[in-house]
């Protein structure tokens, strides 16, 4: 993995962001000090010395040249941006049946609703963008557009039937400069309006006002999104119905997407406003907890219920699934209620160890096929045993114990629900073929995050544990995984995993790949978290011990929260890597986002060999995702930094 490049990119993003923030803070801290007039600013920052002047000129020229080359490339008559425009569906959902798009919209709706609520409830939203910054942006972008109009070479002339006219040297015949400028009317409008808005903001507002008036980042972004969505209603975004092998003919992007996207925007905005309202109520704290918990549940619900359509065998549900789930919820709950009784002592230990022994026996027996038991019962039993072993940490008064038992029942209900859903036959019989494009990128990235974080934490704790058995096992796992190329693991999981699974258990290729990602990423996360664990001072352990906290309590309340906080930057880095590394799925034959751009589109008869356009688009989407995560982690860090050192 190109970790160096990634490191560089992250570093740059951080630099930009921190500069932004510093500016905002400085502006707020000294509103009376006037900022430099533009010419002065240029002099101080770009032409302060001979060296500085030379550097400015050299890099300025290089920048202009690069910009011109890029634009000439992008607007050349050889470019076929239709390949991207027409293939939007292929890029994002590949062959997912369009009759089922409703599910994707619902999924997206759930995510946006949660995002809106979280943003509204959040206490970590900064003060936003100053008008000075917005004005600078407008002028910069307006200027860039106008410069682009002037820099791009005139278009090639075409004959009435659309052929490019060539001269004697087979070079395209180009329009005159004047016609070219006149042809770019729309672009002029965009550039001039942007620049004018920026200039107006600058001139009309006083210097102080400019720097101390802020537009919230969320409202600003919602505004920009509103504009983008509105274009679907009045701008012709092209027609993807023309031809192509996998595209449904006849409808334009705006026809099929304008209504859903508008609804999506409304959901996001509505949820944000609701969140803001809720944040001012007394129950804001518990509402935050509910929303955060929903974030954890959302992926499961969306993956298994909305993306797939299980055909449920109700007879089986009534005869087996439901009784089993209830058995674990109630029976397990009763056992745990007993074990959390204060002073249950030796009896509790015996029950816990006994259950654990039985659970292990279940698994060992399963591998020899001697003792058949439904897989989910086996999993539940093991979980029950593990929780039972730790139960004495949660001993307390009746209401506390009841809450603990309820949490257990909730987890069981969810687990059984999910496993039943996964095992149920689906109308989408071969999801590997149907889930492709960006959908698969998101699917695997989220799946990996959800499973690798807890596993990574456990491995890190194991490796730093004082108990040799945990230490040795974790170390072996981590070092083995880190010593093997990821591709090998991916191959192994997609091809051979089923052979190693016990009878009656099967796993789809995509899920297997997800598992491979999660197990691989966990080893790296574990090392990051271990770094964090080592940063926790010895005094913290001593203080916890001196207060009589148990090892589990010490780890959960004192050590881990501090260790994770320190590990946020590397953890987010790892997450970003995972997000980008999903493109390796192409190797095991899954058609992800990148592969659509790299081989599906260039294979279509109309767009034979058209590759760069799609790749550039894919890069852009990856970048947006990675940059977003990086920004988020900075906010998180600063938010959690409260009261440290």
């Amino acid at each position: 993995m190109s970790s160096e490049l990634e490191h560089l990119a992250r570093g740059t993003a951080e630099l930009i962001a921190s500069a932004d923030e510093r500016e905002a803070e400085e502006a707020a801290s000294r509103p009376d000090e006037p900022s430099l007039p533009p010419l002065e600013w240029l002099k101080v920052n770009l032409f302060s010395s001979v060296l500085n002047t030379v550097l400015t000129i050299v890099f300025g020229l290089a920048g202009v040249l690069a910009y011109q080359r890029l634009l000439n490339w992008a607007f050349s008559h050889e470019r076929e941006w239709d390949a991207v425009r027409v293939n939007m569906r292929a890029l994002f959902t590949f062959t997912y049946p369009s009759s089922q798009y409703g599910r994707i919209w619902v999924t997206l709706g759930i995510v946006l609703a949660l995002a809106g609520l979280s943003l509204g409830l959040s206490r970590m939203v900064g003060q936003g963008f100053s008008l000075k910054r917005i004005s600078t942006w407008c002028m910069a972008w307006g200027g860039a557009v106008i410069a682009g109009i002037l820099l791009v070479q005139p278009h090639a002339k075409r004959s009435p039937d659309g052929e490019v006219l060539l001269d004697a040297d087979f070079e395209p015949v180009r329009e005159s400069f004047g016609t070219a400028m006149a042809d770019r009317g729309w672009w002029w409008l965009v550039g001039v309006i942007l620049f004018a808005v920026g200039l107006a903001l600058w001139v009309v507002l006083g210097d102080v006002k400019r720097r101390t008036t802020f537009v919230g980042a969320v409202p600003f972004t919602l505004g920009v999104l509103a504009f983008a969505v509105s274009t679907l209603w009045w701008f012709h975004w092209g027609n993807y119905g023309q031809q192509g092998d996998i595209i449904e003919p006849g409808r334009t992007v705006k026809d099929s997407a304008k209504l859903p996207w508008t609804v999506m925007w409304l959901v996001l905005t509505g949820a944000y406003l609701l969140g803001q309202r809720l944040a001012t109520t007394d129950r804001a704290g518990s509402i935050r907890v509910v929303v955060n918990f929903s974030w954890l549940l959302a992926p499961f619900i969306t993956f298994w219920v909305i993306l797939r359509d299980p055909q449920i065998d109700y007879a089986h549900v009534v005869s087996t699934d439901l009784p089993m789930a209830l058995g674990f919820m109630i029976g397990g709950g009763a056992v745990l209620f007993f074990l959390t009784k204060p002073g249950v002592g030796e009896a509790g230990r015996i029950v816990g160890v006994g259950l654990f022994g039985l659970a292990i026996f279940n698994w060992v027996a399963a591998f020899f096929g001697v003792y058949p038991m439904l897989q989910k019962a086996r999993i539940s039993f093991l979980l029950l045993a593990l929780v039972a072993l730790a139960a004495h940490n949660f001993a307390g008064e009746r209401s506390q114990r009841l809450r603990f038992v309820c949490a257990w029942a909730g987890v069981m209900a969810m687990l059984h629900y999910l496993v039943t859903m996964i095992n149920a036959p689906s109308t989408v019989d071969a999801p590997d073929e149907f889930v492709g494009g960006f959908l698969v990128t998101v699917y695997i990235a989220v799946f990996t995050m959800i499973f690798s974080f807890p596993l990574g934490i456990l491995l890190a704790l194991g490796r730093t544990s004082t108990l040799p058995i945990f230490r040795v096992l974790s170390t072996i796992y981590i070092e083995t995984v880190r010593g093997v190329p990821f591709i090998t693991i991916l191959f192994f999981f997609s091809t051979f995993l089923n052979i190693f699974l016990p009878d009656g258990m099967e796993i789809e290729q995509l899920a297997a790949a997800g598992l491979g990602f999660a197990l691989f990423s966990a080893a790296y996360l574990a090392e990051n978290i271990r770094g964090g664990l080592q940063a926790v001072r010895r005094g913290q352990y001593e203080a916890s011990d001196a207060l009589g906290l148990t090892t589990v309590q010490r780890t959960g309340f004192i050590v881990l929260p501090q260790a994770l906080r320190v590990s946020i930057p590397p953890l987010v880095g790892a997450t970003i890597s995972t997000f980008k590394e999903t493109s390796l799925l192409a190797i095991i034959g899954i058609i992800d986002f990148l592969r659509v751009a790299n081989s599906v589109i260039p294979g279509q008869t109309v767009f034979l060999g058209v590759r760069m356009e799609g790749l550039l688009f894919v890069c852009m989407i990856y970048w947006i995702g990675a940059y977003g995560m990086s920004k988020f982690s900075q906010r998180l860090e600063r938010h959690l930094g409260v009261g440290e050192h």
Binding site: S399, A543, G548, Q553, L640, E644
Partner: protein
């Protein structure tokens, strides 16, 4: 009266009380280095013992053995009737009866002051959260900083942090408090506020073992002073006796250096 027998050196009124800490021939090695050498001393209920000694003499090691942050290798330590052995249940029980205050405060930086104080009562003593938080605020009142309840440790001065640390230990309602140089990391103007809280505690009848270099505190508050050097108890006695009429040459040398 032999002064190397530390237990003998207490007033008659104290002698009548029960022993709450019994140390009998405690040895502690770090590898080849012997940090504690046959340390024997019994501490009475409600007694305030100040431990003095040059740097590296084993003062910290000793009091850390008493709540088993360090393990002694031979000899016996009995705290509140429970002997310290490898049995984890004994250790957790003892630790919840013995509060400890560290030189470096060791507050939990990610928790607010109230959460720092109420965490252990909630999870170790199994108190309802509301009650534990109420108690935390009362304790903050007692150590003189009720207005700091919602802040984080990083936002407090050193003296305030150490008072929170004392409140945190007191929240477990311990029968014994151990202090390991509680004022050594503080600026001079903050030392007094912490010492005042400790005096208050001593007057309230808490059993205390205090390692400190504050001679004023030792003279004024201690029932007994124990002087250590090279891992051994050299001399013990009432403050009056200890400061005015030390018997051992090593004690005299130490006192001449610090007074």
């Amino acid at each position: 009266m032999s002064f190397s027998d530390a237990t003998a050196a207490v007033s008659d009124e104290l002698a009548a009380r029960d022993d709450i800490i019994i140390c009998d021939g405690v040895d502690k090695w770090y590898g080849d280095f012997q940090a504690l050498n046959q340390v024997s001393a019994n501490i009475k209920e409600q007694e305030v013992v100040v431990v003095l000694g040059p740097s590296g003499s084993g003062k910290s090691t000793w009091i850390r053995c008493i709540n088993r942050l360090e393990q002694h290798q031979s000899g016996r330590i009995v705290v509140d009737g429970v002997e310290l052995t490898n049995d984890t249940r004994n250790i957790e029980k003892i630790r919840s009866e013995v509060g400890m205050v560290f030189q470096q405060f060791n507050l939990f930086p990610h928790l607010s002051v109230v959460d720092n104080i109420s965490l252990a009562p909630i999870w170790v003593r199994k108190r309802p959260r509301a009650e534990a938080e109420r108690q935390a605020r009362e304790l903050l009142e007692r150590v003189g900083i009720p207005e700091q309840a919602e802040k984080f440790p990083g936002q407090l001065s050193g003296g305030q942090q150490q008072r929170v640390a004392i409140a945190r230990a007191l929240a477990m309602e311990p029968r014994i408090m151990l202090f390991d140089e509680p004022t050594s990391a503080l600026d001079p103007e903050m030392i007094k506020e912490v010492l005042d809280v400790m005096k208050e505690l001593a007057l309230g009848g808490m059993t205390m073992m205090v390692v400190t270099h504050e001679m004023g505190f030792a003279r004024e508050v201690a029932d007994r002073i124990i002087f250590m050097e090279s891992g051994e108890i050299v001399e013990a006695g009432t403050p009056e006796h200890f400061f005015t009429n030390p018997q051992e040459d090593r004690t005299k040398l130490f006192l001449s250096q610090i007074l």
